[in-house]
Each structure stands twice: as structure tokens, then as C-alpha cells.
Amino acid sequence: MFRWIVLRDLTLAWKGRVDVLSTLFFFLIAVSLFPLGIGPETNLLRLVAPGVVWVAALLASMLALGRLFANDYQDGTLEQLLLTPQPLYLVVLGKVLALWLVSGVPLALLSPVLGIQFGLSGKALLVMAVSLLLGTPVLALVGSIGAALTLGLRGGGLLISILVLPLYVPVLIFGAAAVDASMVGSGVQGSLSLLGALLALSLVFAPWATAAALRISLE
């Protein structure tokens, strides 16, 4: 049953792949704008690269959240999902997993290309991709709470950013710190394992909160 929800959302993402691609393009363009604003000096760019890439990843993941429940809410399928004979927790988890596969994973895979623009070393590029692979599922999980709470509200898109971005702070800090550490040659394990801890914590709590929020929003 879990397989069905993931497959369903992946199929839908494939049919609406323009949306998926625009998240990626947003990420690409947002990161590429920074050198234009800061100036082309390689040392400076290398210094800000972890923060810039991570902030852009944060914003891109947040934009992708709009797709998570809004369409299903409008056509009534979300109501049907609430009435399926399986824990809502799993439905949410399946949907978030599908979202992450089409938004978080490509983002992480694309990040080394952007890192090269900023003159990062091979090791830093690898750490950046790994930290994004660990961090983006947390963003999707925590973001799903905001997406569920703002369903059908006016100004939902903007509101979700106000709700969710402050909660993204720890992910941003640990993610960017991991890349930073790899650049100065100190250990990256600390920040990566903290990211892993955040992932474990949000896997346990976030779908539960999202399920509660969905029930509230659909009343």
C-alpha cells in the first residue's frame, strides 16, 4: 500500500515534470546570481559557497512544498487519501518520500556542478552532495507540516515560508558547517551525524504532526 502512494506521486510528478524542473532551475539560477552580486573573486566565493548553496536549497525545497498537498486538496483526492484504510502517517511518509525523490535528490546531485562554479575542491563537492542528501529529507518532512497547515488559506505560498523557514535553521547550520569543515580540512563527521540525528527525529515526529494538521485542515 505504501508502494502505491509513492508510485502514484512519482507518476503524477512525471506527468507534471515541468514543475519539477522549475524547482531545479530555480536552484540553479538563484545560486548563479550570487557571484553577480558579490563579485567574481574566487577566494570570497569559495568562502560563501556553502551558505549560498544551502540557502538556495532551502528556498527551492520550500517552493517544492506547494505541490505536496495543494493539488490533491483541490481535486478531492486528498479527502480520499484520508479515508484509505491505512495509517495517515504512512500516507504522509509516502508522499514526502516521493517529493524528496523528485526534488531533494536532483538538488543534491546538481549541487557539485554549482560548487565547481564557486571553486570548491573535490572533497568539498562530495561533502556538499552528501549533506544535501541528508538534509533535504528533513526539509521535506518539516516542510510538510507547514504545507498541511496552510492548505486552502489565502496567501498560502507566502505563509508557508514564514512558518517553515525558521524551523529550517538547524538544518542550514549543520549542512553548511559540514561543507565548511571539509574546506578547512577538519572533521565533517560531527555535523553530518547531527544532520542524521535531525533526520531520525523528523522521521518520527514530522509525519505525525503533518497527519494531525491534514485532519484539521480538511475538517
Binding site: 525558521p166 547550520i173 547531527l194 527525529l201 484539521i216 485542515s217
Partner: protein, 244 residues
């Protein structure tokens, strides 16, 4: 001793006149304590040997910062109770607290930066405490904007509760991460006080101001609660009229 039926006051309509009677009992002592606390803080407490008189803003800053944090937790507790037991008054309490909490958090940021100018020579430092207070303010803003954009009061209460609970779980994580981030980038850290060896009048002023802030918060929350009750009753009356 007469037994008080506490359940009676759990209904908003019964609580309304009760709140009215209670407000002066908190408002007046708050005013008195503010005056006493400020007097002790500004005239009795000695100058700090390092910071001179600039430090005196802590008599507002520190209680405000404490209130900002405490009220967030209190707000989440009230919101959670309101959600779990379908207690309307408790949910209204959470909404009433949110504004006061945001106000104190904002006040502590402003006073912090006023203090920073003479002490550190700059209005804003990315210090761990200031940064996490800033994020706390963002969390308050999220709660308030979410509730403001939902028309159905029942949904607003319960959605707010979910957000507040998620926020309260996150606050320690955010504090820890910001602390960790701060030690990582040592450059920006400046110790706030040397070891806080406070002269007795300083401590007294601080505690009096804290008590004043508590009393003020209770009074203001009660006032705001009364407005929320009136607003909802009026909406309900209007809706009932339309349906007749």
C-alpha cells in the same frame, strides 16, 4: 471555606466577567513594581566597574528575554490543552499570549541592540543569544500570521496548536544549533558579562522587574482574552442571525 467550582470559569462567557474583576489585581501591582524596580535599578544599584551605567538596560532586557521564552512555552501548553481537550478558553489564552510573547521578544532584541552599541560598539552582533532570540521572534510571527489567516476560529486554534507544539520541540534544537554555530565561528563571539557577580541591589532590581513583567503579562493577556471572547461571541451571534 466555600468550594469554588473551577469548571464554571472554563467557559468563556463565565470567564469574561471574572477576567474583568481580576485585571486590576494584576495591573496595579505591575505598575507599582515597575516603578520600584526601575528606581532600584537606576538609582540604588551601583555602576558597573566595566560598563558604567550602560549596563542598567539589563533590568529591562533580561526579564524581557526570559518572558519571551517562557511565554512561548506557556503558549504552546495552553494551545495543546485547548486542542487535546477541546477547551476553547485555553486556545483563546494561547492566542492572547502570543502577542505579548512576541512583544517581549522584540523588546529584548531592541534593548539588546541598544546595549550593544555602547558595550560592543555595534548595534547588532551575531551572538548566539541574540540570534536565537531573533529566530524565536520569527516563530512567534509564524504562529500569529497562521492564526490571522484562518477564518474559522476552531481551525485557527487547532492549527496554531500543531504549529506551537512543533515549535516548542524545535526551540531547544534551534538554541543548540545556534550555540554550536556560534562556537564554530569564534570571531563573532563576545562574552556578555564576565562571571555574573551581581551586587544585591542589582539582583533585587532584576527580580522585581521580572515580577512586574509577569504581572503585566497576566493583566494584558486577560485584557486581550476579553477582546477575543467578545469578538467570537459577536461573530457567533451574527452567524446565528443570518441563519434565522
Amino acid at each position: 471555606m466555600a468550594r469554588i467550582n473551577w469548571y464554571k470559569y472554563a467557559s468563556p462567557t463565565n470567564f469574561y466577567p471574572f477576567a474583568e474583576k481580576m485585571i486590576p489585581w494584576f495591573a496595579f501591582p505591575a505598575a507599582v513594581l515597575f516603578i520600584v524596580g526601575l528606581y532600584v535599578g537606576f538609582f540604588v544599584a551601583p555602576s558597573d566597574f566595566q560598563q558604567g551605567d550602560a549596563y542598567r538596560i539589563i533590568f529591562i532586557h533580561v526579564p524581557a528575554a526570559w518572558m519571551g521564552m517562557l511565554l512561548y512555552v506557556l503558549m504552546a501548553i495552553y494551545a495543546a490543552i485547548g486542542w487535546a481537550f477541546n477547551a476553547r478558553l485555553s486556545s483563546m489564552m494561547a492566542s492572547a499570549i502570543s502577542i505579548t510573547g512576541a512583544m517581549f521578544t522584540f523588546l529584548s532584541l531592541v534593548t539588546g541592540s541598544l546595549w550593544g552599541k555602547p558595550t560592543w560598539g555595534t548595534w547588532w552582533v551575531w551572538d548566539a543569544r541574540l540570534t536565537s532570540t531573533l529566530i524565536l521572534l520569527f516563530l512567534y510571527i509564524g504562529f500569529i500570521s497562521l492564526q490571522a489567516s484562518i477564518d474559522d476560529p476552531r481551525r485557527a486554534d487547532r492549527a496554531g496548536a500543531v504549529l506551537a507544539i512543533v515549535g516548542v520541540i524545535n526551540v531547544p534544537i534551534i538554541y543548540f544549533s545556534v550555540q554550536w554555530w556560534n562556537t564554530l565561528h569564534q570571531g563573532a563571539t563576545i562574552r556578555l558579562l564576565g562571571k555574573p557577580t551581581m551586587a544585591p541591589p542589582m539582583l533585587a532590581a532584576m527580580l522585581i522587574m521580572l515580577a512586574a513583567c509577569w504581572l503585566y503579562s497576566i493583566a494584558v493577556v486577560l485584557v486581550r482574552l476579553r477582546y477575543i471572547i467578545i469578538e467570537r461571541e459577536q461573530n457567533a451571534a451574527r452567524a446565528a442571525e443570518v441563519s434565522v
